[in-house]
Symmetry: C2
Subunit: 393 residues, 2 copies
C-alpha cells in the first residue's frame, strides 16, 4: 500500500500549543468553543463513533430518549425562541439545507444577503443553484450593513429574475468586523413580502441572549463549535413550525428520514458536548453586557498604540474585534520574520490565536477572558509596540 505503520506513527501523538497551561487564545472562531470541564467529561464518555446511538430504536437521532436527545432539542428550541431544532454537521449545512428545500418548494433563482455574510453563505447559495443579491455596507471604516436597503435589493431580485427572492438572509454578527445587526426591520420586510427570513446567528446564539421568535426569524442558524462550547463540528438549525414543514421533507423512499439532512447527522461527541455545555451556555449568555464591556476596554487599550484603530461599528457591541494595524505592518516589512513577527512576539508572551502572518489587519476576541487575562493581552501588545519603537499613549 506504500504506507508503513512506522511512517503513519508520525500522526499518533500531536500536541497543541493553545492547550498548554496558561496560554491565552484570542482566536475569534475558538473563544466560544472552549469546553468547560463538564463537556470534557462528556467528550471522554462519548468519544467513540456513534456513541449516542446505543439506544436508538426509531432510526432518528433527534428522537433518541436515552440519553435525552429528544428533550434536549426541545429545550434548545425553546431557549432560542423557535419551534423546532435539528442538528447538522456545520451551520453552513443548515443554510444549504434550507436553501435547497426552499428552492425545491418555491422555485426562484436568487437570495438577498448582507454584504458582510460569511463566505459559506455564498457557497451554499451557489451549490443550491441560487444567485446572490447583496445589501451594501458603508465601507471603510465601519462596514455597517445598510439594513434599510433590504427592500430595494429584494425589488431588484424581482425585477431582474421575475420572481421574489427565495430567502432573505442577515448575518446577525459578522465574522469580519463583529458588527451586530438588529434583525427586526429585516424581519418586518420579510413578513410583508412573504419571504422566509434566515438569521445567521453563528456568532451570537450561544454567547449572547437571543430569541429568534421575538426577532421575527423563520430560521435561526448557529454553530456549536463556534459559540456553544461544543467540540463540534455541529450546526444548529432552529425553525418556525411553518418553515420546518417546508424544510424537513421526508425522503420519498424512506419516509422516516429527512431528505435534505440526508438522514441522521452522526453526532456522538459533538452532540454530547453540546448537551453537557448547555447549562453553562444558558448561564453565560446572561453575562453578555460584561463581555461587551471587556471588548470595549481592550479596544481602548489597543488603540493607545500608534496607528492601531478598531474597524467596524463603534463602540463595539460584540466580542469579535477587527483592528487595522498599519504600524505593525510597517514593522513586519523590515522584520526578518516578516508578518510572522507578531505571531512569534505574542507567543513568547503566552498569547496565541492571531492568524499567523497577518499584520495589516488582525482579528481577535475577548470572549470569556478573565480580567487578568485581558490586562495581560493589553500589556503584551503595548510591550511589543514599544519594543519596536511604536509610541503608546
Amino acid at each position: 500500500m506504500g504506507t508503513s505503520v512506522k511512517s503513519a506513527r508520525r500522526y499518533s501523538s500531536l500536541s497543541r500549543e493553545a492547550r498548554k497551561p496558561g496560554i491565552i487564545n484570542l482566536n475569534p472562531i475558538q473563544r466560544g468553543g472552549i469546553l468547560p470541564d463538564v463537556a470534557r467529561k462528556a467528550l471522554d464518555e462519548f468519544g467513540d463513533g456513534y456513541s449516542l446511538c446505543d439506544f436508538c430504536t426509531k432510526g432518528r437521532i433527534d428522537k433518541i430518549r436515552k440519553p435525552p436527545v429528544e428533550d434536549f432539542l426541545s429545550d434548545l428550541a425553546s431557549f432560542l425562541g423557535m419551534d423546532v431544532v435539528r442538528l447538522t454537521n456545520r451551520s453552513r449545512e443548515a443554510m444549504f439545507v434550507i436553501l435547497m428545500a426552499l428552492k425545491r418548494s418555491r422555485g426562484g433563482s436568487a437570495i438577498v444577503v448582507d454584504s458582510n455574510a460569511h463566505y459559506s453563505t455564498y457557497l451554499a447559495a451557489e451549490a443550491a443553484g441560487l444567485s446572490v443579491f447583496e445589501v451594501p455596507n458603508s465601507g471603510y471604516p465601519e462596514y455597517k450593513v445598510d439594513l434599510g436597503a433590504y427592500g430595494r435589493v429584494a425589488d431588484e431580485v424581482e425585477e431582474e429574475t421575475g420572481e421574489p427572492p427565495v430567502a432573505i438572509i442577515l448575518t446577525h454578527a459578522d465574522s469580519h468586523y463583529g458588527n451586530l445587526n438588529d434583525p427586526r426591520p429585516v424581519a418586518a420586510l420579510c413578513r410583508k413580502l412573504g419571504v422566509p427570513f434566515l438569521l445567521n446567528a453563528a456568532y451570537t446564539a450561544g454567547v449572547m441572549p437571543i430569541n429568534g421568535g421575538k426577532l421575527g426569524a423563520d430560521a435561526l442558524i448557529s454553530s456549536g463549535h463556534k459559540s456553544w462550547a461544543s467540540s463540534g463540528p455541529i450546526g444548529i438549525m432552529a425553525l418556525s413550525s411553518e418553515l420546518a414543514e417546508e424544510v424537513l421533507v421526508p425522503s420519498s423512499r424512506f419516509p422516516n428520514k429527512e431528505l435534505f439532512l440526508l438522514g441522521c447527522p452522526v453526532l456522538g461527541a459533538p452532540l454530547a458536548t453540546l448537551m453537557a455545555s448547555f447549562a453553562y451556555v444558558v448561564e453565560r449568555v446572561e453575562r453578555w453586557p460584561d463581555e461587551v464591556r471587556k471588548a470595549r476596554w481592550l479596544v481602548a487599550e489597543l488603540e493607545r498604540i500608534e496607528g492601531v484603530r478598531q474597524l467596524g461599528v463603534r463602540p463595539k457591541e460584540h466580542h469579535l474585534i477587527c483592528l487595522e494595524t498599519p504600524s505593525f505592518h510597517e514593522v513586519a516589512r523590515r522584520h526578518k520574520k516578516r508578518g510572522f513577527f507578531l505571531y512569534h512576539e505574542l507567543k513568547a508572551r503566552g498569547i496565541v490565536g492571531i492568524e499567523p502572518g497577518l499584520t495589516r489587519r488582525i482579528k481577535l476576541s475577548t470572549y470569556g477572558l478573565s480580567e487578568d487575562e485581558l490586562v495581560k493581552v493589553a500589556e503584551a501588545f503595548q510591550d511589543i509596540a514599544r519594543s519596536y519603537n511604536l509610541s503608546v499613549s
Copy 2:
C-alpha cells in the same frame, strides 16, 4: 427564555453503559470506531472547536501543515491507492458532493445502485435530483447482489432516460448482511461505459486492506467513525485525479474554496483522532483474515442455537453478521419485556450493542473482539437460549 440553568443541568453529566469497564459492545456501526489510547489523547488535546485551525494560513484545512494535515491526506490517499483525499462530515456527504458535482458537469438524471445500498445513498441521489435504478440481489437468505446485472441496468437507464447513468455505485460491504462484493467486474463495466464508478467502502476501508486504484474505483468513500477508529463525524472522499477535477470545482466567488464541500469541513477532534489512529488502522487491516475467521467462528456457535441462522452470503467474508432468530422472537412474544428481553438478558451478561427491541433479526459485529470476548458472547447467547428452553446443539 423559558430555560433555566437548573433545568439545563440535566444534560450536564450523562454517562454511557457501553463505556463501563468490561462491557462488550457488538454494535456493527460502532466496533470499527472504538478509539485506541493514542486517539483518546488526541481527543483530549484537540477537543475544543476549531482546534486544528491554529496555524491555518491558506484558509484551507486540507493545506494545514501544523499539525501535518496536508501530509496526512496525501498518505491517506496513497494508503487507499487513490490520488486525492478530501474529508467531509459524513461519508454520505461525500456521496452527495460527488453526485451533485457529476450531475452539474455531465447532466443526466439517474444512477445505478446495488439493492443492498445504505439508505443514505438513496437520499443523496434524491437530494441531488437523481433517480435510482437498482441492481437486484438474490433475496432470502443470501441477498447476494447480482454483479452481472449492472450492465443490463445501465442499459435500462439509457433506454428510459435517454442518457447514460451519471454514476454507478457499488456498496463494497453492505450494512444489512455484511455481504462483501468484488468491485472489479463493475469497475470494468464502468470503464467501458465511461461512467464514474463510486465504491462505498464505509464498512471496508479502515478495517480491511483495500486499494481503490487497483479495484478500478474512481471514487472510494469511507467513514472515519465507522471504520477508522475516529471519534467522528468524519467522511473520507478519495478520488482519482480525473474525478477530482470534476468534483472539486472552485466557488465562482471564492476560488480558494471548494464549492460542493461548502469550503472547509470543520474537523477538530474528528480529524485529530483520525490522524492519531492512522498507524493503528494501517496495522490492523493486515489482521483481516483473522477477523473473518472470528466472524465465522461466532456464526457457527450461534447457529448451534435452535432456529438461529446466518443471513447473507455464506461463509462470512466480513465482520458484520446478520442472523434470523425466529426462536428468540417466539420467546419475545410471550415475554413481559417483549422484544426488549434479549437486550436486557445480554446486558445482564455484560454485552450491549444489539438494537434494543429487535428479536426477529439481529445484527452484530465481531470486529476487534478478543478470543475471550468472543467466547463470552457465544456463551451468553447460548445461555440465554437454554434459559428459555431453546435447544443448543
